[in-house]
Symmetry: C2
Subunit: 440 residues, 2 copies
């Protein structure tokens, strides 16, 4: 697989560059905005994820010989355009919501300021990454809250594309999960990985006892034994017999969990395995996790539902031209006018407003001067925080947003920002955004 | 990004290998089966996709120094296990449903025959690829039928992870789509790519007329002009004035499509642009495509809904050990016994049964002898076709399943196999599978 991200792009981005170069409009200064018109799934808030990955993708967005040869062969671009692409690297500015931040309808999550041609090229890959990663993070954030402080592991690699799985592990970790089953996420991003054995391991052996003995011999008594291949009660008894009272945990992957978990806890305690933990992994989502709040579960493994965004596999974000210069160099706000997809033109800045107790009250979006141009809190008569940060300046990715460092910062930021939201944000029911978006 | 696929794997696959090597059970001959317990979304049939990609992934499933160094550093595997991984390449057999084939609950889509350790290692990546790609292909197949022969283009790259987008383009093409917007899918797989311009291109220019003139100058009058940035009627008039009656097509991306499309068709005809086609792209899915059956639409562009599987972003397939040998080398059928996730143990072969008119009547799954072991049609009293084919033999990928050749064969196979299904298969309502799965 090529390390270039330049062809992870829609065909029409290149034909637009081609036509704009031909018309002499490709160099017009432009502002593109990436935002969601609404919160998919009637979520109360969204969680930004993928920003660090996007910045990596922008750095690798180069047309090398491999890409150019294929494009030349395809024959849909003029020679002048191919030359332009050969020289291309993004030299503009990108402002945005830092990763882990929460967002609302209209929040300008990524603002690209560059020539039209430079900005339009980034559209597809920016949307691919932010739409997918934010959908996972938004679902994961709800699950983190539902788990009420108990650890959650992301185990859904098998239920999404093999590279999306790596990104999903990263997004879930930012939104509060503690670990992942995905090894590549461990290698690429330093996320803790975990797992012990599947039912196949038990079935491989001549008896459940043989399987447990094999596992404990290799992984030690602190391992997690999967006890529901045959009969759960017998499985728990055998597990404690084999591993002793120091058995780390038992995993339950089937059955009516609130009842089964309570029975297993009682049995473990009766057997003296009072410090042995219980982890559950049976098609969980934020609702079933919440339903286990009162059960003696110690940790959760969540698979399918987190990697597919728990009913909302994509956030429906769009990437729109909101302002550009004319031939005289003056800025013109632009927006599509047709029927059902109205956008708000113009460069924007954002302040999140807070009440005196520090609870967020509104997402205030200021039209006009662009990032950094909004009034300060005192002028607004409220406590206010500037949300947008510079991510790229003159083509240079700003420090702190990529790699493991960016992930750690994003995870902490997510924790802080969610804690500032009003209580209604934690509702798992469909409804209005937790705070209103106000255009000023 | 590494070209190895070995870490696109769950942590527990490696701890199982570790424990089984330690216990002396890693080399037991084993049969793993990949199948769906039910058809997600109550679809009437599933479409197998991803098989060619899986075979590529198996070929690249190698632990090189880069992977081994990271695993060694993580410290959760014994030195003996790391040595075993260093030597690993898959040397077993894989049988399966060829790509593009239709499937039903229980259909053994991939059957891996190898040592336990070899087979278990492939679990995660096999499921990631088949679950995601088949979800897209199954949705795309429904849309292809709903379009009733009119061309469909996949344009959803922005609404799924950037690499899943490439795989989705491939899966949709196999299931009957004609083209994709995704350039990497064009380069990697030879799928036709297409696209012309977005609203941003119109907004970049001082007027819609300027934008159309720029586009026609660069791309010629046979291009597709997007006419709904401001007022659709005026947009169509300007488009024909600029490009002439040879205008290739107009694209409509908003509004109440059946009404708007009819109005645009009348207007184009009135303007003499009788050969100008109409393409529509407004958040379509199989239902809205079907609702446009009587409208004068010439082609469809489908985005979000196809790449996220139209409500079913993953197929819920699982990968289970169904048989293994004991110490004496005898085969033992195995299956998890617990509460709600019963599997059918044993090696299997499959015949699809047909009535005298060539309409499929049942998916007959024979327990016992494994692939190739089922009775012939005459013994079954029905016309019957062997469904399983060898995909890998002694570690060697069999020809015809990978690359562009595999895709072309899969696309043709999909067309043939869907045509053999009873009419109820084409229902877009939720319901039972089009044919029953019978275990014999």
């Amino acid at each position: 697989m090529s390390t270039s991200t330049a062809l992870l792009t829609d065909h029409y981005e290149l034909t637009m560059v081609d036509a704009a170069l031909s018309a002499g409009t490709a160099d017009r200064d432009s502002v593109f905005e990436l935002f969601a018109r609404r919160l998919s799934g009637a979520r109360r808030y969204g969680v930004v994820a993928g920003t660090g990955r996007l910045l990596d993708a922008v750095s690798r967005f180069r047309f090398a010989d491999e890409e150019l040869d294929w494009l030349r062969e395809r024959g849909f671009l003029r020679a002048e355009t191919l030359d332009w692409l050969a020289d291309f690297r993004f030299r503009g500015d990108i402002w945005g919501y830092p990763e882990g931040e929460v967002f609302f309808p209209g929040s300008p999550l990524v603002t690209v300021e560059s020539s039209f041609a430079e900005g339009v090229l980034l559209e597809t890959v920016a949307l691919s990454i932010l739409n997918a990663d934010s959908a996972v993070a938004t679902a994961a954030s709800r699950m983190s809250h539902a788990a009420n402080g108990k650890p959650l592991a992301e185990m859904g690699s098998r239920r999404t594309g093999e590279y999306s799985a790596v990104a999903a592990a990263r997004a879930a970790y930012i939104a509060g999960f503690s670990a992942t089953s995905n090894l590549e996420a461990g290698r690429s991003w330093g996320i803790p990985t975990m797992g012990t054995a599947a039912h196949s391991f038990t079935l491989l052996h001549d008896s459940e006892r043989d399987a447990f003995e094999a596992q404990v011999a290799a992984l030690g008594p602190s391992t997690t034994l999967l006890v529901d291949t045959y009969d759960i009660e017998q499985g728990v008894r055998t597990a404690v017999e084999v591993a002793g009272r120091e058995l780390g945990a038992v995993r339950i992957d089937s059955g009516d969990l609130p009842i089964v978990v309570a029975q297993v806890r009682r049995l473990l305690d009766d057997l003296g395995a009072t410090s042995t933990k219980i982890t559950v992994t049976n098609d969980l989502d934020e609702y079933t996790v919440a339903a286990l709040a009162a059960a003696p579960v110690d940790s959760f493994g969540v698979g399918t539902s987190v990697v597919v965004g728990s009913g909302t596999p994509t956030m429906g974000m769009v990437y729109k031209l909101v302002a550009r210069t004319d031939d005289a160099g003056n800025w013109v706000s632009v927006a599509k006018k047709s029927a059902d997809k109205v956008s708000v033109g113009g460069r924007k800045s954002v302040r999140r407003l807070y009440d005196r107790r520090g609870v967020a009250t509104a997402e205030a979006i200021f039209l006009g001067d662009g990032p950094g141009g909004a009034p300060e809190g005192e002028e607004l008569g409220a406590s206010a925080r500037d949300v947008l940060v510079p991510l790229v300046r003159a083509g240079e990715v700003q420090p702190g947003h990529t790699g493991s460092e960016g992930i750690a910062a994003a995870r902490e930021r997510h924790r802080l920002r969610v804690a500032e939201l009003p209580h209604v944000a934690m509702s798992l029911t469909r409804g209005d955004p937790a705070i209103p978006t106000e255009y000023r």
